[in-house]
């Protein structure tokens, strides 16, 4: 039971990450491979605020979102100058730069030593060391993220995003300032990723830069491509499958090092197969 709770908490976190990235990649058509950077910013913000300043967890989430939002704005600004392949490449670069900062700004992040002992949220008298309570909390955030995403997608803002994805020049002709829209959704995606990061930091109680690498960004991409781009339920589905799947491998009994690599192998193969045979993923609406 404990174990299932653990898996579901991870699922919620990746669900939130998937939703945020899907808004950027699936709905707006921007191939961003830097999502882990914002995930990390949320995690580090919460970690630092909780361990060094004893700030309330929920406040740290908000601060994390603000930091992510600002950084997302700056990064998004630079990214907006590029298209297609170059967009992806430059986003790679930003992931690496932010990762470098996590690793090297040691006065702030303790670098590779990581930050241990991150506390749990304080809310009334609920004991969040009980993982079941933490799960409820994560699901609440997942729900909120879903509602936000759903609202965006159904609104006229969301329709403009899809139009940008399909034919940016056309919609520019109609007078829409596409730069503004692309920037805005990038910032929103970044803030959602930050929430996931804060939850992650508090749950695992220890973070270090190695979680927030390119590989992680690629993984989140696999989640949404598998589930289906431009489909919110798809992100949830993708997260569910990709969290449960490796656990099945665990019971086949591979030694843990090989199990981790097998997981990577499966992700890689899934990506290739998806591109070859089903680019819209399981229930997606947008073929890459």
């Amino acid at each position: 039971m404990e174990y299932i709770t653990h898996l579901l908490i991870l699922f919620s976190i990746y669900g939130i990450l998937g939703l945020g990235l899907n808004l950027i990649v699936g709905y707006t058509g921007l191939l961003s491979v830097t999502h882990a950077a914002f995930y990390g910013i949320g995690a580090y913000t919460t970690a630092i605020l909780l361990t060094s300043f004893g700030i309330n967890f929920f406040l740290s989430i908000i601060i994390g979102m603000i930091v992510s939002g600002i950084l997302g704005f700056l990064i998004g600004l630079v990214l907006s100058k590029f298209k297609g392949d170059y967009y992806a490449l430059v986003s790679f670069g930003f992931n690496i730069i932010v990762f470098s900062i996590f690793l090297n700004w040691q006065n702030l992040t303790r670098g590779p030593l990581g930050i241990p002992g991150i506390g749990k949220p304080q809310l009334f008298d609920i004991n969040f060391y009980n993982n079941f309570n933490f799960l409820i909390l994560s699901l609440v955030f997942l729900l909120l993220s879903w509602l936000l995403s759903w609202f965006i997608v159904k609104s006229s803002f969301g329709r403009v995003l899809k139009a940008i994805r399909e034919d940016e020049q056309a919609i520019q002709v109609f007078g829409y300032n596409t730069h503004y829209y692309k920037l805005a959704i990038f910032v929103i995606g970044a803030m959602l990723a930050s929430i996931a990061g804060s939850l992650f930091a508090s749950y695992i109680s220890y973070i270090d830069p190695s979680t927030f690498t390119l590989n992680e960004s690629i993984f989140i991409l696999v989640v949404i491509i598998l589930g289906g781009l431009a489909n919110l339920r798809g992100s949830i589905l993708g997260a569910l499958i990709l969290i449960i799947l490796p656990e099945a491998l665990r019971f086949v009994g591979f030694p843990s090092d090989i199990a981790a690599q097998m997981r990577q192998l499966v992700y890689g193969v899934i990506l290739v197969l998806l591109m070859l045979y089903r680019p819209q993923g399981l229930i997606g609406e947008y073929k890459l």
Binding site: M1, E2, Y3, I4, H6, L103, Q106, G111, P112, L113, G114, P116, G117, I118, Y129, N131, I204, S205, Y206, I207, D208, S210, T211, L237, L240, I241, I244, E247, A248, F251, P255, S256, D257, L282, I283
Partner: protein, 385 residues
């Protein structure tokens, strides 16, 4: 379009079935915890966190073998109050994240009361907050960072802290007349701890130290070494987490044709195999180690038993002997106060002159083993005191 909806339904049902089945399997496997049961012969589950894979597997494997050997011996002679010990081994990979996961699983899922580990100080630091919440006692024979001194009442160690190691090596360096030392240090708790201890003492004695750091994932440190070589120091201090990293540095020193006087962290002098492999370059290097009394009968028995069971010599002898002792210490602890993490932790502070293979063990109020290292010099391919 009916095909599409049908497809969706099929996919959905398959997923749900998979999850339900998966959940059932998991439920079967993990339900029913074993508490300090009434039934006799019921195994006592103990946890182990160590670096079983990766560069640091050099430690983790030795520690795992040692624990397995000790547990086997104990079980063959009646177990603990008639109950056999059963160890759950988890891979901490010498990093905080995996150790945190391992600790969470051991505490929440396996519900152990005792955990041996981590092999690396980084693992231990990350596991401590988790065992504190679960009220589980954590004991290590190999985590030596000074940062662990007094870190938690639930942690104690059967190996002395590196604080002393850094000091005596600084004294030795000073005695050789070295004033300017440069250092290359891996970015881990253990390597950093050793460096800081050395730096403090060496500066006190009037010397200067500067360092270049590198992350564990960085394998090419030649540019860093070039920078250090340029400072024309009296000696180079090598502080790394694993022998593998140390050996890479020695090779790259060769590539740069630089043969400085060396001060090395204990893992490069306390394992005969490592010294033998690098004897050419390590000749004359000074380091420190925790001295074992070769006349100690328990030690000799341990060395022989390990060789018989694993067909190899005990690696990192001083560390693994401490690990061996830690298992027997825990056995005594359980027999003294019962299978209760908090009680064992409190009891550990009362350990005084406990006769082990590594000598007399006394644990101080901070959870440290009250003892110290001695200086070793590498001569003719062997590290000697």
């Amino acid at each position: 379009m009916i095909m599409n909806t049908l497809l969706k339904w099929i996919v959905g049902i398959v997923i749900v079935v998979l999850i339900a089945w998966g959940g059932y399997v998991l439920y079967q496997k993990y339900s029913g915890s074993i508490d300090g049961g009434v039934a006799t012969g019921e195994p006592i589950k103990i946890g182990f966190i160590g670096a079983l894979t990766g560069d640091a597997a050099a430690y983790g494997e030795g520690a795992r073998n040692t624990v397995a050997l000790a547990v086997d011996e104990i079980n063959k002679s009646g177990g603990v109050d008639g109950r056999p010990l059963e160890v759950v081994y988890e891979d901490g990979k010498c990093n905080g994240k995996d150790a945190a996961n391992a600790a969470q699983k051991l505490v929440n899922v396996d519900k152990v009361m005792v955990i041996f580990g981590g092999s690396c100080s980084g693992e231990t630091l990350s596991a401590i907050p988790i065992v504190e919440v679960g009220k589980v006692v954590l004991v290590s024979g190999t985590a030596t960072s000074p940062d662990l001194t007094g870190k938690s009442k639930f942690f104690f160690r059967t190996y002395p802290s590196d604080a002393k190691q850094g000091e005596i090596v600084a004294d030795a360096a000073n005695a050789k007349g070295w004033k300017k030392v440069v250092a290359i240090q891996e970015q881990t708790d253990y390597a950093l701890g050793y460096y800081k201890a050395f730096e403090n003492r060496f500066k006190q004695l009037g010397g200067t130290v500067t360092k270049e750091e590198f992350a564990t994932s960085v394998t090419d440190v030649r540019s860093l070494l070039t920078k250090l070589k340029n400072q024309k120091p009296d000696a180079l201090l090598i502080s790394v987490q694993t022998p593998a990293a140390g050996e890479r540095i020695l090779k790259q020193l060769q590539d740069l044709k630089w043969k400085p006087a060396l001060i090395v962290i204990d893992i490069l002098v306390n394992d005969t195999a490592t010294v033998e492999r690098n004897k050419e370059y390590l000749e004359g290097a000074i380091g420190a180690d925790f001295a074992l009394d070769q006349n100690n009968q328990k030690l000799q028995n341990f060395l022989a038993a390990y060789k018989a069971m694993f067909n190899a010599d005990v690696p990192f002898t001083s560390y693994n002997t401490a690990v061996y002792d830690s298992v027997y210490v825990i056995k005594d602890g359980i027999m003294a106060v019962g299978l209760d993490g908090e009680k064992i932790a409190d009891w550990s502070r009362t350990i005084k002159d406990w006769a082990g293979a590594s000598g007399m063990i006394t644990i101080d109020a901070n959870g440290d083993r009250a003892s110290a290292h001695s200086v070793k010099v590498v001569k003719d391919g062997k590290a000697q005191f």
